[in-house]
């Protein structure tokens, strides 16, 4: 049995006026395993991820339940403690790589800034780590990339840089929220291979998607969400072979079946 890193228990998110967004969600993330979260737009997938990342302001949302990281409930922690964990131990890769970077700064600056905020190293060291990690991501000409602005790189490249940055801080959990949705099939396949590599490094991965193809390719465990609730969960083989819920069946039927598969 692999070791659990993050456990979410009975997570509820309400808007302050009482509208429920997430209604009691529980799951756990284990070392070296990929948890797939699938559901349509508006099913609460992203809200759950944001709650884990503590991105939801208490001024607007009422969050209850438990988000346990290393046996401590993050919802009870003080802001200072949370800041030490978020970004370093738990990091998130967003859907749109184009808007995730600051367009006014060179990639190198943004990498160095991130590294220096979280660890005590010199600028020179940060640069070297940056180049090394970019090269690990199969990005050639890392020095050139460090010196370019986000607009001059393609979406697939930016997304890989994003993954590289999140890996630099050696997190134990990475949340990929629709990280491949905006990319074309070829780049998606490349990014998914990188995810496989991350998983083999004993990192717990949460992959959020609306595409069962992505889930079939990478997930070990799957939860299906609809209207803020988990309606089905199990291993990826269970979900595909013994589908119980009608909604899951509907999602599965949305795949374009090839008449023959090579």
């Amino acid at each position: 049995m692999s070791k659990k890193i993050l456990e979410v228990e009975n997570l509820r998110i309400n808007v302050l006026d009482g509208t429920p967004l997430v209604k009691g969600v529980s799951f756990r993330v284990c070392k070296g395993r990929v948890l797939g979260i699938i559901g349509e737009s508006g099913s609460g997938k992203t809200m759950t991820c944001k709650a884990i990342m503590q991105l939801l302001s208490k001024k607007n949302f009422d969050i209850s339940g438990k988000i346990e990281f290393k046996n401590r409930n993050m919802l009870d922690m003080k802001e200072k403690e949370i800041n030490k964990i978020i970004g370093k131990d738990i990091s998130m890769i967003m859907q749109n790589p184009m808007t995730a970077f600051n367009p006014m700064f060179k990639i190198g600056n943004q990498i160095i800034e991130t590294l220096m905020t979280h660890s005590n190293i010199t600028k020179k060291d940060a640069y070297d780590i940056g180049v090394k990690e970019l090269e690990k991501m199969n990005l050639d000409r890392a020095h050139e990339i460090m010196n370019s602005y986000p607009y001059s790189l393609s979406g697939g490249m930016l997304q890989r840089i994003m993954i590289a940055i999140s890996l630099m801080l050696t997190p134990s959990v990475i949340i990929a929220d629709e990280a491949t949705t905006a990319l074309d099939v070829k780049t998606q396949s490349l990014i998914l291979s990188e995810f496989e590599r991350i998983r083999d490094n004993d990192i717990g991965l949460i992959v959020v998607s609306h595409d069962f193809g992505v889930i079939a390719r990478i997930a070990d465990d799957v939860i299906v969400m609809k209207d803020g609730e988990i309606i089905e969960n199990g291993t990826v083989y269970d979900i595909f072979d013994n589908t119980k819920d009608d909604y899951t069946k509907e999602l599965l039927s949305a795949r374009l079946l090839r008449k023959e598969v090579s």
Partner: protein, 267 residues
């Protein structure tokens, strides 16, 4: 019906020093599109698919080559002459929100092409628009709304209704279903297949997803760096593709079942 001969389009890009370099976005494309048929054009981002679409739609002039629509070379035509022909070819774009005028009600958005090409009385116009909106499976009440009040899938349906309003012979879909939720995507694709059997026009489906291309069309052209590298008529299965690049596109597709994953990793 539509034939392109050695179609090419160059762009000039300025580099840091201000000197121009030539980029050939489309080179030597020879395609023949027949009436009442369906075609797909597949390729990754930057392969020149959209440029080719713009050339065929006469939104851009080709640098070299000819485009014949029913034996008339539209590449040489003037704007005024083209305008008469425009009702014969329509286009559906990827981003439907920016394709619709945010200040126009859905009714007027759909009515615009009809008002441009046909003289109808108000009652006839209303009847046509209502029948169009039911064809794309939207409630008649949505005609009174503005684009921002509709979801992405509904906006797409409005764009489709607008495209079929003039009974075009030929419709180009440029990444029309990319960026939609998979469930919505399936519904839109099925709607398009159903419409095609009604309106009998030719579809050219441009996409980066070979799955979608295969689902939508009988004839598939694969494009790379501005050239068509493989063209298969009446395709029966994805196994029909032989070119290295097409195989690569197929291998990048996510598996349908988790069991195929182990097989894929082995490659």
């Amino acid at each position: 019906m539509l034939r392109t001969i050695n179609l090419g389009r160059d762009y000039y890009v300025k580099d840091k020093n201000g000197s121009k370099t030539k980029v050939e976005a489309v080179k030597n494309v020879c395609l023949t599109l027949n009436e009442n048929n369906s075609y797909s054009l597949v390729g990754e981002s930057g392969s020149g698919k959209s440029t080719l679409a713009k050339l065929i739609m006469s939104l851009e002039k080709p640098t070299t080559g000819e485009i014949y629509l029913d034996n008339k070379n539209i590449a040489l035509m003037r704007k005024k002459q083209l305008r008469i022909l425009r009702s014969d070819f329509q286009m559906v774009l990827q981003d439907s929100y920016s394709a619709l005028n945010p200040k126009m009600k859905i009714y007027d958005s759909i009515a615009e092409p009809i008002r441009n090409f046909e003289k109808l009385t108000l009652i006839q116009e209303k009847e046509t628009i209502e029948s169009l909106i039911t064809k794309v499976e939207l409630p008649v009440s949505s005609l009174k709304k503005y684009p921002y009040q509709l979801s992405g899938g509904q906006q797409k349906r409005v764009c489709i209704a607008r495209a079929i309003a003039t009974n075009p012979k030929f419709i180009v879909f440029d990444e029309a279903v990319s960026g939609l939720d998979v469930t919505v995507r399936k519904k839109i694709l099925d709607l398009l297949l159903k419409l095609r059997s009604d309106i009998k026009s030719t579809y050219l489906f441009i996409t980066h997803d070979i799955d979608v291309a295969f689902y939508m069309a009988d004839n598939i052209a694969v494009m790379k760096d501005g050239e068509i590298v493989e063209y298969i008529k009446n395709i029966k299965s994805l196994n029909g593709f032989k070119h290295e690049y097409s195989r690569m596109l197929i291998d990048s597709l996510p598996p349908l079942y988790p069991k195929q994953r182990d097989y894929q990793e082995a490659i």
